[in-house]
Amino acid sequence: MEILAFIPPILIGSAIVVMIFPKFSLKGAGAVFTVCLGSGIGLGLTSSTIFLWLAWFGRPGAAYRVFEVGSAILLTTIAFYRFHDDTSGSQDEWPADCGTNDVPIKWLKRLCIILLLISAGSFGLKTFIEGSYGTIDTRITWNYRARWLFRGGDQWEHAFYSPVARDAEYEDDKGHAADYPLLVTGSVYRGWEIMGNDHFSIPIIIAGVFTFGTYLLLYASLALLRNQNQGYLAVLFMLVSTQFLHLGTDQYGDVPLAFFILSTVALFALKDRFPAISLQAIVLTGFTASCAAWTKNEGLMFLVLVILVHFIGQIGKNDGSNLLKEFFCFLMGMLPVMGTLLYFKLKFAPRNDMVNIPTLKQTAFHLLDLDRYLIVITEIFKKVYQFNDGIVILLAVYFLISGLDRSGKGKKHILSHVMLLFLMMCGYLFAYMITPYDLRWHIGSSIRRLFIQLWPAWVFLFFYCVRGPEQSAAEDQPGKLSPEGL
């Protein structure tokens, strides 16, 4: 029954994607891409709307349900007409010439599906049976705040109470990371509000949507950009990274953030590969980047870096008016969720425990401490090397033997995606440098999760660049999308 609560956000998000990409969004890998991306965007939007409703009108009741279902029906109707309207939109949105080089390897596809189902079984075992309520951060941060929103009545704002920011009335009366944005918390609260009870399955389903949405999004984006076999291989590789699935079962915000980082990078890659649909893709990157910011504070850093790398960094390199148009489209996509985030940060969120003026005054001198840099950089490299029992070495060996894929003009901007992820890691380095907490404790308790936030995007870029697994050179022609392959 709880699964019904997720129909409106999935419909809303998918409808938005179909409206933007009416031609390819409901066929083959395009359909997978649409549903996965749409689920994430839909959860981002509905977590914003329910929070705003609570803040402005009070507890969401039947009126909110009507609003949400009505919005889903309206958007789906518009998307339906857009999909069927042959004369609407430009024919240029879909490249005319289609190659037929995408020949999926059937046993590889079946293996991928079977292993995904087994992984879903592992996910179910770890969540529904072993640890229904997640782990410590779930019950002191993510779902704790959702419980306050759901059970707190007129004291729901206590969800954001933190003695770090205010003078604590009582020493232990505190939430942890109370300033964290509300995509996960809001989605959990929304599910509970819709169902009328705070059943543990709602946060588990949300975690499942983002965990398996990441796998499927990875497949779909590589299927669209390269071919399906590369997508299957990438998913198989992600399944080897069991730490990703394990973190998904903890119901934290890191896996949803990883989902949005992957979707943003994949959309930018689509934009570069198929310039005909660039403006449409940019609107969606606005949605996904803002959802990243609405998930965790690291997502806000990601959003800023996206603007820096993909817009400010392109000044002088690209046509100025085109760049402005793209930035405008990005802002349009960003507006709904960013507006909610700004409202939350200004009106409700307490001061961040690390990035605030009193703490920065105490810790700024750490930036001059070379030993600290050495410790942090060493730990980061150690984590990269040791991550998931040295899986990076597997990638390195694969790359050395397989080699780079030299087809495709769209990869000219690959460096900007790599730069984006690299700058994110620099941002993490900076956060460790200024942390007021014990450095080794802070690194030990968080570095794995920070790495996992970027991991799917790194895997995407790797498989985007490396040669395919086929024995014949069955690669897509540059600049073409294959409907048969879709």
């Binding site: 075992l125 640890g131 019950r139 002191i140 232990d172 198989l236 399944l239 060996v397």
Partner: protein, 147 residues
């Protein structure tokens, strides 16, 4: 000659690969084989953990234990909480389970109600300024301030 033998070996391996896993290069096995074994092993190890686990999910346990207490607590009040638990998870789970009642560790500042969670004591503890209101079993007791 060595090159020739290498070519024969490669041809043989390719034919074996094509027979069982047609269409892919050998290097793809570097990912396919680990995926196959890791996913299955991970599933089986999770299954084993569940069957061999000695303890249930602590939050589920606390939800059951504190359920009758929650009905007697004033909603949205602040309540003292004392325990003989040495495990770190006890307080964080109690905080989560008792929302929207806010709990503070220890006896100060004194609130109108006090929750005692004693798993190792058989005698009812005494707290200055509090009277026992009700015992709920499982070591959970609710005290009320005297005036």
């Amino acid at each position: 000659m060595f090159n020739g033998q290498l070519k024969i070996l490669k041809f043989y391996l390719d034919s074996v690969l094509n027979r069982f896993l047609p269409g892919v290069k050998g290097i793809a096995l570097l990912i396919i084989l680990p995926a196959f074994f890791v996913v299955i092993f991970y599933f089986l190890s999770n299954l084993t953990e569940i069957f061999t686990a000695e303890e249930n999910d602590k939050v589920v346990e606390y939800e059951k234990k504190f359920a009758p207490l929650k009905e007697d607590l004033p909603r949205k009040a602040v309540v003292n909480y004392v325990t003989d638990h040495t495990e770190g998870y006890d307080f964080s789970i109690a905080v989560y389970v008792l929302v929207p009642t806010r709990i503070i560790r220890g006896l100060k500042p004194q609130q109108n109600y006090l929750i005692a969670h004693y798993v190792n004591k058989t005698k009812t503890p005494k707290f200055e300024g509090y009277t026992l209101k009700r015992k709920y079993g499982n070591g959970i007791m609710l005290f009320e301030r005297n005036n």
